[in-house]
Subunit: 477 residues, 2 copies
């Protein structure tokens, strides 16, 4: 606990790693590129899972589990897919003390194994739609890794659906993108832009990829979730055919969509400050920490009695922690829980007991405004209101930050400056050449072609040719 | 749906496989020894997970996630452990297109990687106890595999705890064994014997292993959960030391405990019959299926209106399914839902509507007794009561079955006969030789030395030497 967190302004990247380690969200593993998700970080992930899983089930999806090891030959069935994932594969060559006849790859994603099974299960339009999701670990061998954001092994969910028509599959693709947007904005308090990926940035094997893109605290972009429309591409590679209503064999239409433990990294970078994490109440492992304060034994008894009343009033309704440890000072505890991002602190000292009040301290705002004195009666209702207020304020703060750092440059030079400061919305002709030029010059990539488009767009900011739409360029994680 | 399920009496093993495939619990994977857990089977696992996870958290445990790939050298740190698991390892030799400097094994269990981290995290008695659980996939290369019961990859949970004293660790070991017993009996409706494993059957690296043992429908035993006391064995191998209250460095005391997707196999084999699955209400993905019955359009409208009322009365309180499909007959639906083991069926036809009643049909009993006619008013309360009744009756039926097939042979010959019919409780001297002789002669192994012991035991049933305790011999999965 002694070491200081590096200030964001000094080195955002070191600030990030300091937070992850100091808040005990994760630790480095002895295997290169892997991480341990520690209990505090894993509880965050469990809360993320629960909120997403409910949304998946409410939209008619069920969970299943497919094998982690995939025959190498399966990956080769879809040409673009194998090309995209080959450089990142971990390969099992030995099992039970013997060399395997065919090497097995550890799934980097499960399209191939899942589609092999779908080819067996799908027979008729009556079997459709097939709406399956999987929570699993995957491995993508990465050279430059970063806790939560880019690790060789990570946890994620991958939805894989099969439909009887292109229209239905396209609707599903966008439905799940909107589920992600809803989750990001309402649970994570993280505003996102939704849009379509460029051909260069799309998923290997998809006809169209869509993403939610968020702005981090250093104004870089983080692709936070993706949803893909496959058309019949994988169905043809794996032979997924069904008898349609006209009794004709037809290849099925498919989607896939996923988010990962990278979302924990997003939470840190969107909301955190130099004191540590700031967690949105809906996902925080601990929503309220109660810190009793006393100086002598007389005060102690009086304060702890009142504290116990408070604890009983709040328990069951909120995720609370009572910090009545005697070996640490109140000031030390305040720092500790602020570092861990607990949204609301309840302080109670002897004077508060006399006045039948407590002090509520918000994590998300600074200065005097963060403190309020409230009566002990109906504390639960006031805490509930305060957590709602914090959730909304965090979203608004992040939205304002993104707006402030979003630009509409009108020249190429302005574009190269804008991407160093945030999101650059510019007209683009759609060519991979123009996209590559910006990337070469600035390291910024196209994030997405937002659904939300201006009424008219000027000529391509790179080549001057006619532009069909506006795209976001930004440096990204 | 056309093929018949093989009767239990004809071939229990084929009956089992038929059920797994026909009820769509699981399917074979293209990778040898692996399986796909299909949505109906996975929902069962989710319900098992939820009930266990709540118990783990109520006893102070938190979840975390450790890497799946473990350096081969880690496994070698504990001699007995590596010897036990070496023959079953899957090995990753290539990553990102290159041969790895050190091969990585896919975890067969996580003691080694977790203890390497604990050595870093544990410093003082103040850090203890450390009570961490992990939900994960593991791989053990198996030659003869069987859906759910023994597959190369399976899903499980593994608890790994660290304590400041041997006594505390021993208490934890038994606490978690009792959590498993409580779960098995109250959620799975599966009676279990708790006891200690023999030295031959214990976990590789443990000082003492304990298990819950259940009797399947063919009278064989299934080890359904284990809890291990490690003493300081792993702590010494991995250097997990803490400053104790006397300010002296001491090696820590540890436990581990786990259950797996094998429990789904147990559910099938303890309760199922020739019509299919019979699922205990507390874990059933669907607790109540509502089947409306009509012959003509007039009846249809009347019946569906009443059905809708029923649906609204039961939804939210129970996991229900309304089967109003028109392409299948009521009889076909009855068979289908019986095969899938839904504990309770609600039938409603035109005559029932006239009488404001419904027919409740229990899955767990046969003959006329399974049907009852109950009024539509307060149906929810009656359904709730009936599900409780079913849960209790399933447990009692399984308990009676086990009692009926448990024996106390008094000669070696009787023992060899008894193990062909069920559990044999016999005095045993504790020697590995006597244990091996029974196994060689009958294929039966020691299941456990039950905690519940008779007041006195006779001489060892194999060698006639003095016996310290009674042990259960049985053929096992």
């Amino acid at each position: 606990m002694a070491e200081k967190i590096t200030p964001q302004s000094e080195d955002f990247s070191r600030w990030y790693t300091d937070i992850v380690l100091r808040a005990e969200l994760a630790d480095y593993a002895p295997v290169k590129g892997c991480m341990i998700i520690r209990p505090y970080g894993y509880t965050l992930w469990e809360n993320i899972q629960a909120a997403l899983d409910k949304r998946f089930k409410d939209t008619g999806h069920v969970n299943a589990y497919f094998p982690m090891l995939i025959p190498e030959s399966y990956l080769r069935k879809e040409a673009e897919h194998v090309e995209g994932f080959s450089p990142e594969l971990a390969v099992v060559t030995h099992g039970g003390g013997k060399k395997l006849e065919e090497p097995l790859v550890v799934r980097p994603t499960s399209e191939t194994i899942i589609n092999a099974m779908y080819a067996k299960w799908v027979r008729s339009y009556r079997d459709l739609p097939l709406l399956i999701n999987q929570w699993a670990n995957v491995i993508r061998w990465e050279m430059r890794t970063r806790l939560f954001l880019r690790t060789a092994e990570f946890l994620w969910q991958e939805g894989h659906t099969v439909h009887a028509s292109a229209q239905e599959a396209e609707e599903e693709t966008l439905r799940m993108l909107n589920v992600y947007k809803d989750f990001a904005e309402n649970e994570m308090a993280m505003p996102v832009v939704t849009g379509q990926k460029s051909l260069v940035e799309k998923f290997a094997g998809a006809l169209a990829s869509y993403s939610i893109e968020a702005m981090m605290g250093d104004t870089r972009a983080l692709q936070s979730g993706t949803s893909h429309y496959f058309g019949q591409q994988f169905a043809k590679a794996f032979g997924i055919q069904f008898l349609n209503r006209d009794n004709e064999l037809e290849y099925a239409y498919q989607t896939s969509w996923g988010v990962s433990t990278r979302l924990v990294g997003a939470l840190i970078m969107v909301h955190g400050d130099d004191q540590g994490l700031i967690l949105p109440p809906r996902l925080a492992p601990i929503q309220v920490v109660i810190v009793p304060i006393w100086r002598n034994e007389d005060q102690k008894q009086k304060v702890l009695e009142a504290t116990d009343q408070i604890r009983r009033q709040l328990a069951g309704q909120f995720r609370i922690e009572l910090d009545d440890r005697e070996e640490y000072s109140p000031g030390w505890k305040f720092n500790e829980w602020e570092m861990k991002g607990v949204p609301l602190r309840v302080e109670i000292g002897p004077k508060d007991v006399d006045k039948s009040q407590v002090v509520l301290v918000r994590r998300d705002v600074a200065g005097k405004e963060r403190k309020s004195f409230v009566p002990m009666t109906n504390l639960d209702a006031q805490v509930g209101d305060m957590l709602e207020t914090i959730q909304a304020a965090m979203f608004n703060r992040a939205l304002q930050f993104r707006e402030k750092n979003s630009f509409r440059p009108t020249t190429y030079e302005e574009l190269t400056e804008a991407v160093m400061k945030g999101f650059a919305y510019v007209p683009w002709c759609g060519s991979a050449e123009c996209e590559a030029k910006v990337k070469d010059d600035t390291k910024a990539t196209t994030r997405c072609i937002p659904f939300d488009q201006p009424e008219t767009v000027g000529p391509c900011i790179v080549c001057g040719a006619e532009a069909s739409s506006e795209v976001i360029f930004a440096r990204a994680y």
